[in-house]
């Protein structure tokens, strides 16, 4: 248990009276890549928001390296080592590419990721560093969003819908870079619509359905049919 980065236990999240997450538990170890799959509205993004502190759970615990973060502010949770690439990227549109990246490093956590290293991994961003972030192509914007998250040198990286709205060839490029990005002992939770891809890149997976976990385990331990049944609830 010493190397458990995140431990979510019996989490319950509500939006008003509507319950979005029903008693979800999961753990992720240091250096592990966990895929979180499930159809739209299954509660994946809500789980991410709860981990980041953007929504407060009604019950249950979220322990980051042993410390319960369920009542902490988003800013404090980022300081403790959680970073997210949000769905739809959500870059700061009045900031340049470089300003977006620099702001990602606002909390000043020490670690391998610096502006220079982000530019090494994504050379195009160095070339375009003075451009307004939203003037870039979708794939380049996704690189900015990933770089911005890495700049805080997180222990846990949440990737929400990396491939949303991107051309297949661009998605392939980004996934090709993933090992280089995650090679630093980073623990990652990946939300991805493309289930085959999500299973291929991950060590473990969790499938959510209507706010509950319908299946979880090693990514190579289940058949397509078993996963399909868990995904659609059939």
């Amino acid at each position: 248990m010493a190397d458990t980065v995140l431990d979510v236990a019996d989490l319950e999240v509500f939006y008003g009276n509507a319950q979005a997450i029903h008693g979800v538990s999961l753990t992720i170890e240091k250096g592990e890549l966990l895929s979180l799959i499930g159809s739209n509205g299954a509660g994946k993004s809500t789980l991410f928001k709860a981990i980041c502190g953007m929504v407060k759970p009604r019950a249950g615990a979220i322990r980051l390296k042993g410390q319960n973060t369920a009542r902490l502010s988003p800013a404090r949770i980022t300081e403790m080592g959680v970073a997210m690439v949000p769905e739809g990227r959500r870059l700061f549109r009045s900031l340049s590419v470089e300003e977006n990246l620099v702001l990602g490093g606002y909390v000043g956590r020490p670690g391998p990721w610096t502006l220079r290293k982000v530019y090494d991994v994504f050379p195009i961003l160095h070339e375009r560093r003075r451009y307004p972030a939203t003037a870039l192509s979708g794939g380049q914007q996704q690189m900015v969003a990933i770089g911005r998250a890495l700049m805080s040198n997180p222990d846990l990286l949440l990737l929400d819908e990396l491939s949303l709205g991107l051309a297949p060839v661009v998605i392939k490029d980004i996934y090709a870079l993933l090992p280089r990005i995650l090679g630093e002992g980073l623990s990652t939770i990946l939300v991805e619509q493309d289930v085959t891809r999500a299973m291929a890149v991950s060590d473990h997976f969790v499938c959510m359905l209507e706010g509950k976990i319908s299946l979880s385990g090693r990514s190579d331990a289940f058949t397509h049919d078993q996963i399909s049944a868990a995904y659609f609830g059939t």
Partner: protein, 287 residues
């Protein structure tokens, strides 16, 4: 020559209006807060300067060294203690709260200082002038006010686009939720923005109080001038705010030249015409 003089004086008073407007524009830009009490804070700053001057004998401009930090601190405290609690998706609560603040401030000033009108005395600065053309004399005070407005807007512009604080302001304005997961505390960012706005309010208040008489109830009309300058210039654009102030000042001057009763009316008409032709102002930056 008479008309040139009118335009020159109008441009210079535009600097004062830009000072009224800059603080208003700044907090709207960062947190979408419309501060109805902005004009009353300007008047409050003028009274604060008066008290400081009475206690210390400082020149009004020197009093800024005390009034600016004091107003900045008040702004920080009001944001943290009050306005942050009502900011949210609904724009109505902050509007009502600042409206209430406006009434409270007016009445506190009335109780503390009576309804008598006051003025700050800046000595020779008020009477000396520079003859730029035959028939066109530029007073030191209006010139200094205008220069102060330009310098202040240039400074704010620099702060917004070239400093870490400005980056935090813009990021929070773009997407407050994501700014928080970058580690920015919105409440603090807003408090710094209000603090900055109130520093500008302090400068506006002192220049206003040297130029003209002030009393506890003149805040709302300053608010209107500030609003009009902001809207004419385009929301979120600080240089546009200066342009808005100048247009308002010149329109008022021209109106007064035609008929003294038309001074305020001409300014409002210019505002309405621009609003009709370009509803988003001349140089909008905020969608």
């Amino acid at each position: 020559m008479e008309w040139i003089n009118v335009i020159v004086q109008g441009v210079l008073i535009g600097g004062l209006y830009a000072l009224f407007a800059a603080g208003l524009s700044l907090i709207f830009g960062v947190m979408r807060l419309v501060n109805i009490a902005h004009g009353d804070f300007i008047v409050g700053a003028a009274y604060l300067a008066m008290v400081v001057i009475q206690a210390t004998g400082l020149h009004p401009l020197a009093s800024l060294f005390l009034v600016v930090p004091a107003m900045a601190a008040i702004g920080y405290a009001i944001q943290l203690g009050l306005l942050n609690r009502v900011l949210g998706n609904d724009i109505l609560p902050p509007l009502i709260v600042t409206f209430g603040l406006s009434i409270i401030l007016q009445n506190l000033l009335l109780t503390g200082f009576s309804a008598d009108s006051r003025k700050l005395n800046a000595g020779a600065l008020e009477t000396q002038s520079l003859a730029v053309l035959p028939g066109v004399d530029v007073g030191y005070l209006p010139l200094l006010t205008f220069v102060a407005a330009v310098a202040l807007i240039a400074g704010l512009q620099y702060l917004f686009y070239h400093t870490a604080m400005g980056r935090a302001f813009r990021a929070t304005s773009d997407d407050g939720e994501i700014a928080q997961i970058m580690g920015l505390d919105n409440r603090r960012v807003f408090a710094w923005a209000m603090s900055l706005s109130m520093s500008v309010v302090a400068i506006a208040g002192v220049f206003l109080a040297i130029r003209a008489n002030f009393d506890p109830f003149m805040g709302p009309s300053r608010l209107i001038f500030g609003f009009e300058a902001v809207i004419i210039g385009g929301l979120g654009n600080l240089w546009g705010t200066l342009a808005g102030g100048v247009i308002l000042g010149v329109a008022q001057g021209l109106g007064a030249q035609i008929d003294p009763g038309w001074q305020l009316l001409a300014g409002h008409i210019a505002f309405l015409v621009i609003l009709a032709v370009k509803p988003r102002g001349l140089f909008p930056r905020i969608d």
